[in-house]
Symmetry: C2
C-alpha cells in the first residue's frame, strides 16, 4: 500500500474549486427562524442586503481575487437543501420544541436557492449587493460573510510554507485550548458558538466547536451554525436579528409606525415562537429609547440580548428596567454577544454571578483569533469588522443605530433623522474591534 | 473517491506492531565512528551494556508492557543496513571528509545485526542487559533507549482521546516554536540535535529537527541522528562517548594503565580521525584529574565537550587550562551537551560570546519537552533520566564518575576506588533533571 493515496493526490491537484459553502445549512439558525416568519408575513417585501467593511484600511478588493470570489458565490448559488437536511429540520427538536418549522414552509424551503448578486469594485473595496424579495436576500448574509472572510484567510496563507502553516494552527489550537481552560473555571457558565460569519474557515470553526464540546461539556450550550449543530449533535441556537426592526422601521409611513416598529416585530415573533425564543434585541435604534417606549408586556419576555452596549453597563440597565417592572432578574436571562473574549466573559460572568441568568454568544474571538499565531507577522489573518446589512426595504432606506454610533449603518441623513427621532441618550462612540 | 482510504484503514487496523526502530541508521552518528575504531582495535573485547533508570520513582516495568518491549527489541534485531543506507555511508561527506568509513569496515557492517538481549523484571524496573563482543553490544545503546522512551510515551497517551492528542501536539509544537524564536535572537549560534535517545517519539524528533532547520537556518548545524541526517540532508554530528575511556580503564591492569586510559583512547582516536573530530570528552573520571594528568598534546585538540559540569564553570575551567597551555580560546571550540534548554543555552552563549567558539548539542529538552502540554496532567510524558551504560568489559567492572556524582555509574566499591584514584576535586553532587 502506497504512503500517498494517488487518487486523492490527483483529485486534490485537479481541484477547480475548494468550496467554502457546501450546504445551505451552513448558516446561522436565527436566519431560518426569521425566514419562516418573513415567509409568513412579509413575503412580498423587497429587501436589499449590502456588504459593509467597517475596516476601511483593509482593501478587500486588493486582498481577494474577484474571480475566486465570484466562483465561491456562484457555487453557493448551486446549493439546495438535501433530503437529509430537510428531514433533520423537520424532525429535530429546537429549543425543546418539536416541529418548529411548519410543513408548508419546509415545502417551500426545499426548492430554496440563493438569489443573484451584484459585485463591483470601488476604491479597493468590493460593493456587494443582494436585491430582491426579503425571503431570498436574507439568506445571503451569513454565506456571503463566511466566503469573504475565508477567502481573505486563504489569501493571507497562500505564501506560507507547510511548516509555517503547521506552526500557525498549532499555536491557534494551543491558544484556543488555554481559553477553554479559563472557561472551565466558571462553574455555571453557559456559552455558545456565534462565530460562523467571522470565522477564519469552516474547518477551523468546527475545530473550535469541538474544542468547546470536549473542554467545557455541559457549559457549552450549542452553536448558531445549523450544519455544525446537525453534524455534531449539538443544539442549534439563536433567535432574531436587527434586520427585523430595521425593515419594519424602514417601511413605516408615520412616526407612530416608526416608534412602534420594534414592538410590532416582537408581537409577530411571539405569534411564531415562544418560551426561550422570546429574547429581546433592544438596541436596533438604541436601548434607552427602546426601554422608554416599551409596552409593559416586553418585561414578560424571557430575556434580553444587549448587542452593542458594554456588557456590564448594558446588563445593569436592563436589570434596573426589569426591577422597575416588578420582574425578578434571577428568573430572566441576559445573552451577551458583542465583541466577547475570555477577559470580557470572565468579567461579565463575575459581575452578574447569582443576580441574573446569563448566556454568552461567542463570535469572532472564538472562531477567528489568530493574533500572534503566524511565524511571520501577517495582518491578513486579523479578523475585520465586516457585516452584511439591510440597506433598503421596498426602496426605502434602512437604518441601524445601535448603542454604539460606530456600529450605525444607513445613509447619513437617515441616521440623523433616526437619532433625532429615537434620541441619543447614553449612546457611546467607541471604536469597533471586531 | 472515498474520504477514507480503505486499504490504509484496514492496514492500520491490522497492525501487529508499529515499529519504533525501522532502520539501523536510526542511531547516533558517534556510535558508527566509535564502532569503526572498536572494530579496528578492540574487536575481541566483550562489553556489557545495561539499562539504568536513574529516576527510580518511575516504575518502568509497571508503565511499559513487557510483551510490547520484547516485540520492539525483537523487531530491531531483524534489521540490517539497507543498500541505500550503505551507499550513503560510503558516499557521504562527514565533517568535511569523504570516505570516513573504511571499505573493510563497511563490508563487515552490511551484515551487522543487533545481538540478543536479556530482559527481566525487578522491583518494578526492567533489568535489560546486552552481553557479548563490544562491536555488537555498543550498537544497542541508542535503539534500546529510544524504544523504552517511546513505549513509555505511547503508554502515557494510550487513554487520551483524539482531541486531547490534538491539543497535546498543538501545544508541544507551539512550545517548541517559541524556543526557536528565542534562539533566532542569538546571532552566531551553532546548535544541533542530540535528542535521539531521549526522544518522545521518532516522528516528534523529526518534527523538532525540521523546526530547527526551518526556524534558525544556518545556525542549525545538524543532527546526531544518522537516519534524520540522511533523510533531511543534514550534517550527521557527534564524535565519541564515555564508553571508550570506561572500557579501556576497566581493562587496565596497573595504576599506570588506569591513569593513562583516557589519553590512550584519544591517541587511538587520533589515528582514526582528525580535524573537527578531535573533541575531548574530559569528564569520564572527573575533569580536574583529566586536566591535571593530561599530556601537552591534549591542548592541540580542536575542542572540549564538558558533559556533566555546569556549562559556565566547566567552560571557564577549560579556557583557563588552554590559556595555561598557551592556546587561544578564540580558536578552540566548547561543545555543551548536558541538560540544555533555551535558558541555559542563552545564558551560556551570552557568557562566552566572543571569547571561544561554541556549539550546543541539544538533547532531551529538544525532543521530549511535553511539560504542561497535555490537557490533563500526565506525568508519563515527563522525560526521565534513562541511560544505557557499559557495566563490564571482559568481565571486569566498568565505572563512570563524571563531574556530577549523581551521574556516576558502576559498582559502589569500584566507584570508591576510582574516586580515591582520580581524586574528588571540584566534583559536584547535583540532582539530575534529564
Amino acid at each position: 500500500m502506497a504512503r500517498t493515496d494517488i487518487a486523492r493526490r490527483v483529485y486534490n491537484h485537479a481541484w477547480k474549486l475548494d468550496p467554502i459553502i457546501r450546504s445551505l445549512l451552513d448558516t446561522d439558525f436565527y436566519k431560518l427562524l426569521m425566514l419562516q416568519m418573513i415567509w409568513g408575513l412579509y413575503r412580498d417585501v423587497d429587501v436589499t442586503f449590502s456588504l459593509i467593511n467597517r475596516k476601511k484600511t483593509v482593501r478587500l478588493a486588493d486582498e481577494i481575487d474577484e474571480q475566486e470570489l465570484r466562483a465561491q458565490l456562484d457555487h453557493a448559488r448551486t446549493l439546495r437543501f438535501s433530503k437529509k437536511e430537510m428531514i433533520w429540520l423537520a424532525g429535530n427538536t429546537f429549543y425543546g420544541r418539536k416541529h418548529i418549522f411548519q410543513p408548508e414552509f419546509l415545502e417551500w424551503l426545499q426548492d430554496f436557492q440563493l438569489p443573484d448578486y451584484e459585485l463591483t469594485r470601488k476604491n479597493g473595496q468590493y460593493e456587494l449587493h443582494f436585491y430582491g424579495p426579503w425571503i431570498y436576500t436574507t439568506m445571503w448574509e451569513i454565506p456571503a460573510l463566511a466566503i469573504i472572510n475565508e477567502l481573505r484567510s486563504r489569501a493571507a496563507m497562500k505564501n506560507m510554507g507547510r511548516f509555517a502553516l503547521d506552526v500557525l494552527y498549532a499555536r491557534a489550537k494551543a491558544k484556543m485550548w488555554s481559553k477553554v481552560e479559563r472557561l472551565q473555571k466558571l462553574p455555571d457558565l453557559r456559552i455558545s458558538d456565534f462565530g460562523t460569519r467571522r470565522r477564519h474557515s469552516f474547518l477551523w470553526q468546527r475545530w473550535c466547536v469541538e474544542a468547546l464540546k470536549e473542554g467545557i461539556g455541559e457549559a457549552f450550550t450549542g452553536t448558531s451554525n445549523v450544519l455544525h449543530a446537525m453534524n455534531l449533535d449539538l443544539e442549534a441556537l439563536g433567535t432574531n436579528a436587527h434586520e427585523l426592526p430595521m425593515v419594519i422601521a424602514a417601511l413605516a409611513k408615520t412616526d407612530k409606525e416608526l416608534r412602534s416598529a420594534p414592538y410590532r416585530v416582537m408581537q409577530d415573533w411571539n405569534r411564531y415562537y415562544g418560551g426561550n425564543l422570546l429574547v429581546v434585541l433592544p438596541d436596533a435604534f438604541g436601548t434607552d429609547a427602546f426601554l422608554h417606549n416599551a409596552p409593559g408586556w416586553v418585561a414578560d419576555w424571557t430575556g434580553f440580548r444587549p448587542d452593542s452596549a458594554p456588557p456590564v453597563e448594558g446588563g445593569e440597565k436592563i436589570i434596573r428596567w426589569w426591577l422597575e417592572h416588578g420582574k425578578k432578574p434571577q428568573e430572566k436571562i441576559l445573552i451577551f454577544s458583542d465583541a466577547l473574549d475570555v477577559d470580557t466573559i470572565e468579567k461579565t460572568y463575575r459581575h452578574f454571578e447569582g443576580r441574573v441568568k446569563m448566556s454568552f454568544g461567542w463570535g469572532t474571538n472564538l472562531t477567528n483569533d489568530f493574533a500572534g499565531c503566524a511565524p511571520q507577522k501577517n495582518s491578513g489573518l486579523d479578523a475585520i469588522s465586516l457585516v452584511c446589512k439591510v440597506t433598503h426595504a421596498n426602496g426605502r432606506p434602512a437604518v441601524k443605530l445601535s448603542d454604539n454610533l460606530q456600529k450605525a449603518t444607513g445613509e447619513p441623513e437617515e441616521i440623523e433623522r433616526y437619532i433625532k427621532f429615537f434620541g441619543n441618550s447614553e449612546r457611546i462612540d467607541k471604536p469597533i474591534k471586531v
